[in-house]
Symmetry: C2
Subunit: 153 residues, 2 copies
DNA sequence: GCCCTGATTGTTATTGAATATCAAGTCATC
DNA sequence: GATGACTTGATATTCAATAACAATCAGGGC
């Protein structure tokens, strides 16, 4: 059964190339390790945990240690290539890495697929709510759980 | 320096009595352990971690084990007396336990205080966003980080 | 009272998530 | 080739959560 309608390899390649270019522009180092971790995150195309990355990364070589993975993930998050899903302790690739931003997500409780919402309206409502409560907005996480259109059938 | 303007003891008492009554109505068991854990959560009046609860609970007696705490917290969350803050791996008492609901929070990055937002407008915007993305809404977490009015001075 | 049943709590052990710390390697630049 | 900044490796530890099973407790029916 085909799970995704798109050619996922293309989608991985695109993400890697984009990351490469952005790093060149920002003069940050897209090392082989960081590239490999980003690739693994994209390969799953569902939220992936740090320890899953660790296992995949360790295949066919000496087992790497947790800090190796966490440091790479930290870099990727810092650069905006990856988002962290708090409610799952997991990570997903960001499809719009050009502009750094906070991720707002929908998570399907059946298939685990994640949709990133880039709606400015949502963002502005949240910022306004913060202001109305007397807070100076810094950032926010929004994770909506539900059943996606595909799975409802 | 006085941190809270209200009499916090009253506030704890109120929460415990409310929980007691709700459990009677629902015919669920508000055991001494569960009561004590809820009390500890309220006592801190900031997000408290499970292991902090564990330490407090163990004072002056044989040390309890993690499952004891987690089971009590699970019950309290189930009943809606406590919310979990995903971004902090911590727990806070809910000030409106009558109606079960998902918590939406503002978290002060300076003083760690948490404000629960009960704005229906926010909730409806989130549900609508879910629908527009083709999802059947189940629940959501919203955690906004910022600096509260008190700390901005 | 006594047994049965289900819920609660205790106990031991383990897994999963993340970080602290220090050592070793890499790489551009002087 | 020496220097210093950044990156990765390696060891150990802390914090977060759960699995699995034993013991205990509360209430209902006999």
């Amino acid at each position: 059964m085909l799970k995704h309608k798109h050619d996922h390899n293309v989608c991985i390649e695109t993400a890697l190339e984009a990351a490469q270019k952005i790093c060149e522009k920002r003069e940050t180092r897209f090392t082989p390790l960081r590239r490999r971790v980003l690739e693994l995150v994209w390969t799953k195309h569902e939220p992936i945990t740090a320890y899953e990355v660790l296992d995949l990364l360790s295949e066919g070589q000496k087992r790497v240690a947790p800090p190796t993975v966490y440091r790479a993930l930290d870099f990727l998050i810092e650069e905006g290539f990856v988002h962290r899903i708090e409610s799952l302790n997991a990570f997903v690739g960001c499809s719009d890495p050009e502009h750094k931003h906070q991720g707002h997500f929908m998570i399907c409780t059946k298939c685990s697929n994640v949709t990133e919402m880039n709606e400015a309206s949502l963002h502005s409502v949240i910022e306004r709510a913060a202001k109305e409560n007397g807070y100076t907005y810094e950032n926010s996480i929004l994770e909506i759980a539900g059943v996606c259109a595909n799975c409802r059938n």
